[in-house]
Symmetry: none
Subunit: 425 residues, 2 copies
C-alpha cells in the first residue's frame, strides 16, 4: 500500500516554517508499518494544488493533505479538492455544526470567513478536529483515500492517531498483528540510549523494533512488535528495558515531566513550594500547567533580584554578599525560606546565570545551583549548561523537577544527567 503526503502553505515554501508535520505523520505511519512513498510541498497556489492532488492520488492508495484549512483567502484546500475530484463545494451540515459549536463555546459569532470552513466538496465526510475550528475531511477518488488535515501541529496530532491511522487501516485492510508500547525517559540522550541498548542487550530481537524520538525535554521510546506473539514479546522486552533504565523512566505514553513530578508528590501526599531566580517562574508554571496541581502546590516565589531573595525568602545579606546569588549557600537559604514562608513539606530553589550577560570567569553563563529538601534536610547540586538563554531555562527547569521527583520517590539524585555524552568525548 502506498501513501503520499501533500503539504500546502506559502510559509513552507519560503522556509519561514520548517515542516515538522510530515515527520510526525511519517513516524505515526510506522505504527502500521508504512513509509510515505512521495511527499509534495506547494504554496497557496490553486492550480498547482489541483494538479498535485490529481497526480498523487493517481499513483498512491492514500493521500494525506496537510494545511490550507483556515478561514482566509490563502486557504485553498477544500476548493482544490473540489476541482480535483469534480465535486462542487457545498455547506457541509456536520462541518457547520462543529464550527457553530466551536464558536458558541468561545462566545464568537461565525463570520463569512469562518463559514468558508464549512464549505466542503459534496462527496466529503468530515474528520473530527477536537482542537480547532477547521474540521478535516476525506473522500475516495479513483480508489485513493484522500484526507485533508489542518496545518496547526497541535490540531493535527490527535487527528493522526484517532482518525487517520484507523481510516488507513480500514482502507488498506491492514490486519498485521502488532503491539506498541511507548515509554518516556528523562536524563539520558537518544544516542546514550541506543549505545546502552546495544551494549546491554546484544540479543535484542529484530521483531521488536526499538525507536527513539526526542520530545523535548523527554525522549519517547517506542517498542513496536510485529509478529504472531507480538503481545508477549513486547511485554517481555518492555519489562527488560524498564528494569534497566528504571529511574530514568518517568512513565508511559504522553506523560510530561511535570505530571510525573506532581504524581510523585501526590502519591507521597507532599506539598511543594518553589523559589526561582534564573528560571523566573517556569518551574511553578510547569507544575501548575497540570490539572489538580492545587493538591501539591500552593505558593511559589520568583525572586529575580537579590533584594527580593532577601525580602521575600529571608536569604541573608551576608550569603548574598560573600557567595553571590549563584551559590550553594544562597540556594540552600532560598529553600529554607520557601519552606518557612509557605509551610510546604518540601521546597526547590534555583539560581543561575541564564545569559547572555552576567557571566564571570568564576561563574560563566550557564552556571546554575539547585537545592531541594525538607526542613533541616536540604541538598544542593551545581550544573553547567552553556547554551542559549531559553534552552538553559528549560533544561534547568526540567532537571530541577526531575531531582524533586527522584527525591520524593527515594531514587538517586546524584544521577549524572546526560553524561553519556561526556563519557564519549
Amino acid at each position: 500500500m502506498k501513501v503520499s503526503l501533500l503539504l500546502t502553505g506559502n510559509e513552507l515554501m519560503t522556509g519561514d516554517t520548517v515542516d515538522s508535520n510530515s515527520a510526525y505523520i511519517a513516524q505515526s505511519l510506522k505504527d502500521i508499518n508504512l513509509v510515505p512513498f512521495i511527499k509534495t510541498v506547494v504554496g497557496d497556489d490553486l492550480t498547482l494544488l489541483v494538479k498535485s492532488i490529481q497526480e498523487l492520488s493517481a499513483v498512491t492508495d492514500v493521500l494525506i493533505v496537510n494545511g490550507g484549512l483556515g478561514p482566509t483567502v490563502d486557504d485553498l484546500t477544500a476548493q482544490a479538492l473540489s476541482m480535483a475530484v469534480g465535486s462542487p463545494l457545498a455547506r457541509n451540515a456536520q462541518a457547520f455544526e462543529k464550527l457553530d459549536e466551536w464558536a458558541q463555546r468561545r462566545g464568537f459569532v461565525i463570520t463569512e470567513s469562518n463559514l468558508k470552513q464549512a464549505e466542503l466538496p459534496a462527496v466529503c465526510d468530515i474528520i473530527d478536529n477536537p482542537k480547532g475550528s477547521a474540521v478535516g475531511f476525506r473522500c475516495e477518488y479513483n480508489g485513493c483515500l484522500i484526507m485533508c488535515t489542518p496545518g496547526v501541529p497541535s490540531e493535527l496530532k490527535p487527528m493522526v492517531e484517532n482518525h487517520l491511522l484507523p481510516l488507513i487501516r480500514a482502507h488498506g485492510a491492514i490486519t498485521t498483528v502488532s503491539d506498541i508500547t511507548r515509554i518516556r525517559v528523562f536524563g539520558i540522550t537518544e544516542s546514550g540510549l541506543q549505545d546502552t541498548v546495544n551494549e546491554v542487550f546484544p540479543d535484542w530481537p529484530p521483531e521488536v523494533d526499538l525507536g527513539f524520538r526526542v520530545q523535548m525535554p523527554v525522549i519517547e521510546v517506542k517498542l513496536a512488535t510485529l509478529s504472531e506473539d507480538a503481545r508477549v514479546l513486547n511485554e517481555t522486552w518492555t519489562k527488560k528495558f524498564i528494569d534497566h533504565f528504571s529511574d530514568y523512566v518517568i512513565g508511559y505514553d504522553d506523560v510530561r515531566l511535570s505530571q510525573a513530578l506532581n504524581a510523585a508528590l501526590m502519591e507521597k501526599r507532599l506539598v511543594l513550594s518553589t523559589a526561582e531566580s534564573c528560571t523566573g517562574g517556569l518551574i511553578a508554571a510547569g507544575i501548575t500547567s497540570e490539572a489538580g496541581a492545587s493538591s501539591v502546590f500552593q505558593a511559589g516565589y520568583v525572586t529575580y533580584s537579590n533584594a527580593a531573595k532577601h525580602r521575600d525568602l529571608g536569604v541573608s545579606l551576608e550569603a548574598l554578599d560573600e557567595f553571590g546569588a549563584v551559590s550553594e549557600q544562597v540556594v540552600t537559604e532560598m529553600v529554607a525560606g520557601a519552606l518557612s514562608r509557605s509551610g510546604a513539606d518540601i521546597a526547590l530553589a534555583i539560581s543561575g546565570i541564564a545569559g547572555p550577560d552576567g557571566g564571570s570567569p568564576d561563574k560563566p553563563v550557564g552556571t546554575v545551583w539547585m537545592a531541594w529538601g525538607e526542613v533541616g534536610q536540604i541538598q544542593a547540586r551545581k550544573f553547567y549548561f552553556p547554551t542559549q538563554r531559553l534552552a538553559f531555562q528549560r533544561t534547568a527547569s526540567a532537571i530541577a523537577m526531575d531531582l524533586v521527583r527522584r527525591h520524593v520517590l527515594g531514587l538517586p539524585t546524584d544521577v549524572d544527567y546526560f553524561s553519556e555524552l561526556k563519557k564519549k568525548r
Copy 2:
C-alpha cells in the same frame, strides 16, 4: 522564474530526519526574490527519482536536487539524473581530482564506493564542495538548470551562497525589485484581520501581497511587494495597515509579546511585579525569558492557594470569603499587595478558573479576573476563555501582558480582545 526542489533520502520519508535543508535553500532564495514553486521529497527509489526529475524540470526553470550524492548503494542521484536526461555516467576528471585531493588530505585510500562519486552524467559540470567528498554537479535540460547538491547541511550551506545563487542569477537574468515587511499583531484573529482589511481597504493593491501567519499567541502579517516601485508601494501600505490596526501592532519581525512588554516598561523606566494564581508563574516566566529582564522585573508571587494570597500578598480574608478568589476585589488586593511587598512601580494580578474542575454556575471554568496599575490607581477586567487548561493559561497570560503593555504606553485597555468576530453580529 520558477524554482523547484527535489529532496531525496529514506530518512526524510520515515520522519527520522526533519528536513531543514529546503527551508535553508528557500530562505537563501529570498535574497534573489525567489520562492520555490514546488518541492518534492522521495526516498531512495530510482524510478521515482527519474520521474520526479523529468516532471519538475519540465515545469520549472531551475531544479535543485538535494541528497543522494554519497558513496553507498542507496545514493542514486547521479544515476537518476543520467537516466532522466539521457546522458551516460562516465568518470568526470574534475570530480575525480577533487575526490583524490579530499582523500589525500585525510590520508584515505579511495575505495570503489568512493569512486562512484566521480561517475557523473557526461553532460554535467561539477559544483565545488569544499567540505566533503561528494562534489555537486549541474546540467541544463530542456532549458531547466538542474543542480545536484549534498544532503549534509554543513556541506550544502556554503555551496548555496557561493555557487547555487550565482548560477541561478546567471540562468534567469534576475533583475526584479521586491520589498518585504513583517508586522506582528496581538488581540485580533486571522479572520478578523482579513475581514477588516476587506472592509476598510477595498482598494488594497494586488501588487502588495498580504499574508497572515499564526505564531501563537501573535499573528505575523507579511506585506510582500513585487513591482517596479516596490519599496514606495510597500511603505505606503505598511503605513496604512499600521495606522488602522495601531495599538494591536506590537512590533516588527520576530518580536514576542514579552519583548514588547519589557520594551514598553524599559522605555518608561518602570519595574513590574506579578501576582499570579491561575497562570501559576507563566507571566513571570515569559517576562524573564527575555534577556535584560532584570531592569523591569525583580519579584513575582505565585499565590495558588487562598492562604498564599492572604499570607504572601496581604489579601484580606474578608474579600476571599465574601467574593471568592476569582473576583475583582481579590485581584485588586493582589495588585496592592504585590506593589507594597515588592516596591515595584506597577503590578499585575490574575486569578481565574483554569479547569477542568473548579467551575460553578456563577463562575464557570474559563472565568478570569485581571487587575493592573500603580498604588491608588488599580484597574480590573473580567474575561471568559472557555477552552482547555493550557490554552486558557496561555491566552490569559498573553492578554495580561498586553494589558500592561497598553497601560504603560497609554493605549486603550478597554480593547475588546478577539471580539471582531462578535462585533459582526
